[in-house]
Symmetry: none
Subunit: 128 residues, 4 copies
């Protein structure tokens, strides 16, 4: 899986890292139970500090995306949630902001939905 960081972005490196791993999990590039690189290795590959990778992993663990096993390192968590639940209010809030911006930019609902469909098509994450 390819990870690219923008060093000059306003979003912190650890957050960019976290975001890309989350997307990787959702798109199936990282499968459940799959082992993530070690902190040191990933930091080396990306040319960043181990602390930064550490922070990203800790965040992902705290959010429940991965599990960290002292013996085997970090692994993608096996899905446990049932389907069709509601999104967290946090996500709904972010979605509202995005839709507001899109609306003002002149994107109508049907176009927006089409784009969502395209993105969903790439998500192959399967629930239990």
């Amino acid at each position: 899986m390819v990870i690219t960081l923008q060093l000059d972005s306003s979003t912190p490196l650890y957050e960019q890292l976290r975001n890309q791993i989350v997307i990787g999990i959702a798109t199936g590039e990282l499968k459940p139970e799959e082992k993530l690189p070690t902190v040191r290795q990933l930091a080396d590959d990306l040319g960043i500090n181990t602390m930064t990778v550490n922070k990203a992993y800790a965040l992902l663990k705290q959010e429940g995306y991965i599990v960290i096993d002292r013996r085997h390192g970090a692994k993608v968590r096996i899905p446990t949630l049932p389907a069709s639940s509601d999104p967290s209010p946090q996500i709904e809030e972010q979605l509202q902001l995005i839709i507001a911006q899109a609306t003002i930019q002149g994107v109508d609902q049907s176009r927006f939905q089409a784009i969502c469909s395209q993105i969903f098509a790439k998500m192959v994450y399967r629930l239990p």
Copy 2:
């Protein structure tokens, strides 16, 4: 229009302010040509510094959401662009992350689309 800031949030105050005003414009709570509160007034109401409001206004101006007229203060910009159908790549990226998270949280596409519809229903912003 009611604006509420979370002082303990990681998103800066001026950005929260900017976001809420953008949503206000999209939902029609703030209509085109409508005058925004003065920086002093808003700063007072929210109990924050004028420079913070100033920064939010400057950002909104730079992004083209509002217009600052030396004579009458800040106003919501009248829409000029025709429906441009495609969202900015930046928005698409954010949307991908949101959908990834929703997917892992167990929200399926139809549920997601339903939520989008609900949000779109509140957007009454009309293009020229």
Copy 3:
């Protein structure tokens, strides 16, 4: 002569006004000895305060572009300077900044000179 003001510009109205009149003089839209509109009339036409027009006229007078006669109002000044003098250091400084920006934007010297020629072609101001 058509004057258009941007109410939301960062350059003050009186300065925009002054700039457009200076350009009008240089392009010959306003000829030497030609009478400018009265302060009140111009203010009315543009929908701005008379003080603003007043300030622009005062500035133009101070800079030597116009003369203000109490009986006949404001007139374009008859040129007195000999040709081939050097530009004011102020102008040279501004020019340096513009060329710096153009260079970084990827405009090379020949292209720049061509644009200058185009602009000069429109200047029909004749010296004594």
Copy 4:
């Protein structure tokens, strides 16, 4: 690189700072990838507030002149755009005003072009 601010100028300090840095980049005094002083350092050297320097840096970043890397501070951006031959309309407008003023001051085209050449001779910025 020497930076001198005029405290009594009508152009804001942060803009003077921005202008001088832009010129520095174009003249090669600041080379691509070169690190700019830290905001604190520069503020100290110039005897102004850190926020003022901050604002200048933010502006330069927004305009694409510099890049701010969380790890190493601000750096001159490596040129990426190929020679685009045409200047922005904004620059063309400024140029028109300058030429208008020069014309009225009695500077003819050949003299003006000569001055441009002199200035261009100092610009050593090279595109990719």
